[in-house]
Symmetry: C2
Subunit: 324 residues, 2 copies
């Protein structure tokens, strides 16, 4: 089982075929950044068109069983997620509505303060808001996973504590390896692991030591060190692959509608666009190389299989249904 | 199995308890008249609150199997429908979105011309529009039933012809019995029956011969005459019960936002509000009387059971899933 914990590509038949070539069984895809509810629904409509057009390549998945069935049928399962809470607007009732429409992950904040929590670029982090606590409880009830990939430290620790079900950081790396604003402290990683949560390792160059020059061995040695902190069973991949996107899309991710100026986020005025991916991971066809890299740094076949997708599948099984 | 093919009550615990008292196993409830998409979603959110609050009385149903399971568990199954196509706005992609959210019936037009078809109060009826034909095909694909209760004659006949799956007139009576604008010609009833469609008999007084003074015997004799035209297996009940609604709601149904004046629809300036229900059917507790009335005019037990809900269940089974 090979599962990618996050992608936001410029979706096309080419990319869906590459998923099949790479043996990718399931992908958590971002369906919304700053899109409000109606715009998010339009994005789901676009996905419905993809599902109708490419039934031999992809299929919408709502459960771990859907993913197993897709794998058996030789198609890639697509799991929906949102990178900001904009899709629920100011309305807690939209949590269940979006879950019914297939949403399975939602970040409580993205770089900035949201109605729910604080993002990792704010100067101050007052933790989960009143609405944030209510929304986490509702997400727990229906089976929508709290994702804190772009959130600030205190908000993340409070989400881990307040959530009655394990949460995820779908795409980030340890800050102790590469101290990017988006990478996570060992304190967060330990609390995440102890609560049964999941970390997806990112291959986005800004999250990598050495950036685009990061090597497969360096990446996999970092995975091995993180396994010592969190345990193998808490680890997955979350490539953050943004394949074939124009630079205008990274600007939308960073700027949304919250400023009229340009915010470079993890980039800079000199490098405002998407950085080039590392040599060892250009697109979905490179998943087998990740498995080889994990084996080369000492993971056995079973451990590598767990990190490549088995752990995500177990987590999906526990997380996507209504609370017992 | 007792199924009501249409209600739009002012939903409350009282009414849900009356459904249980009346032995009502499933109800097709109207969740939208002139509400556009976001407003319709807000109405679904309100239903989700009802489902969460009254799990011992009601449950959302998406399939015939859901209805059987609800009956086995002693709760009333709720099936969503829309009385106008306003919820899909101008966007065919919303057909699948609303089906995913549970919508199982949608009228193509309501009294007036819509983007899809003509309503029964228009002077001219040019039949299904270009978009109407596209939307019918999409409804057929996903399993959303075409309902022509408030549509005009030609549009209705064209919907029957164009739809690849049987359609429904969820709440109306034969015009030959009571020539109201909302009741249907024998031509329509014959075409509906021949295509495998369903008619739900209305108990809304404006659709009844004698109005609020209509008797149970008179109503059931009308059902028997319609069985001669359509066959017993094409018949069900669709009470159009609007219990506990203030008169402002009947004004919303008739006027929506399409005029700044008052339109009295089936009412009049002298009688602008909801007419009193006939003595023999005040609310959900009176369903057993309908069955007795059907037996009294000569239907055998099996026929009465089919009309009281068995036929709707078979129709739901055939209609609510994706097209094979």
């Amino acid at each position: 089982m090979v599962i990618d914990g996050l992608q936001y590509a410029n979706w096309s038949e080419k990319i869906f075929r590459q998923m099949r070539e790479g043996g990718v069984d399931a992908v958590h895809v971002t369906i919304a950044y700053h899109e409000m509810f109606r715009e998010t629904v339009a994005n789901i409509e676009a996905w419905n068109r993809h599902f109708e057009r490419f039934p031999d390549l992809i299929r919408h998945a709502r459960t771990a069983d859907d993913i197993r069935a897709a794998k058996a049928d030789g198609v890639t399962a697509i799991v929906f997620g949102a990178q900001t809470p904009a899709p629920i607007e100011d309305d807690i009732g939209l949590v269940e509505i979006l879950h019914t429409l297939g949403l399975r992950f939602m970040q409580l904040s993205y770089n900035n303060q949201s109605l729910l929590a604080t993002g990792c670029y704010e100067a101050e982090d007052p933790g989960l808001t009143r609405m944030g606590r209510e929304v986490v409880a509702e997400m727990n009830r229906v089976g929508l996973v709290v994702d804190m990939s772009h959130s600030a430290e205190r908000s993340t620790l409070e989400a881990i504590e307040v959530s009655a079900r394990p949460i995820a950081i779908t795409h980030a790396n340890p800050a102790s390896w590469h101290p990017a604003r988006r990478n996570k402290s060992d304190t967060v990683l330990r609390a995440l692991a102890e609560s049964g949560g999941m970390l997806g390792f990112s291959l986005y160059p800004h999250h990598l030591k050495g950036g685009s020059d990061c090597t497969l061995q360096g990446f996999c040695e970092m995975v091995a060190r993180t396994a010592e902190i969190m345990g193998v069973e808490r680890l997955g991949i979350g490539t953050d692959l943004c394949q074939d996107q124009p630079d205008s899309v990274v600007e939308w991710m960073r700027v949304g509608r919250w400023t009229k100026r340009v915010d470079y986020g993890e980039g800079s005025a000199d490098a405002p666009g998407f950085p080039p991916m590392p040599d060892f991971f250009a697109d979905n066809r490179d998943f087998p190389r990740l498995r080889e890299g994990l084996r080369a740094v000492g993971f056995d076949a079973q451990e590598a299989a767990a990190i490549m997708g088995g752990n995500w599948l177990r987590f999906f099984e526990e997380s996507f249904g209504a609370r017992a």
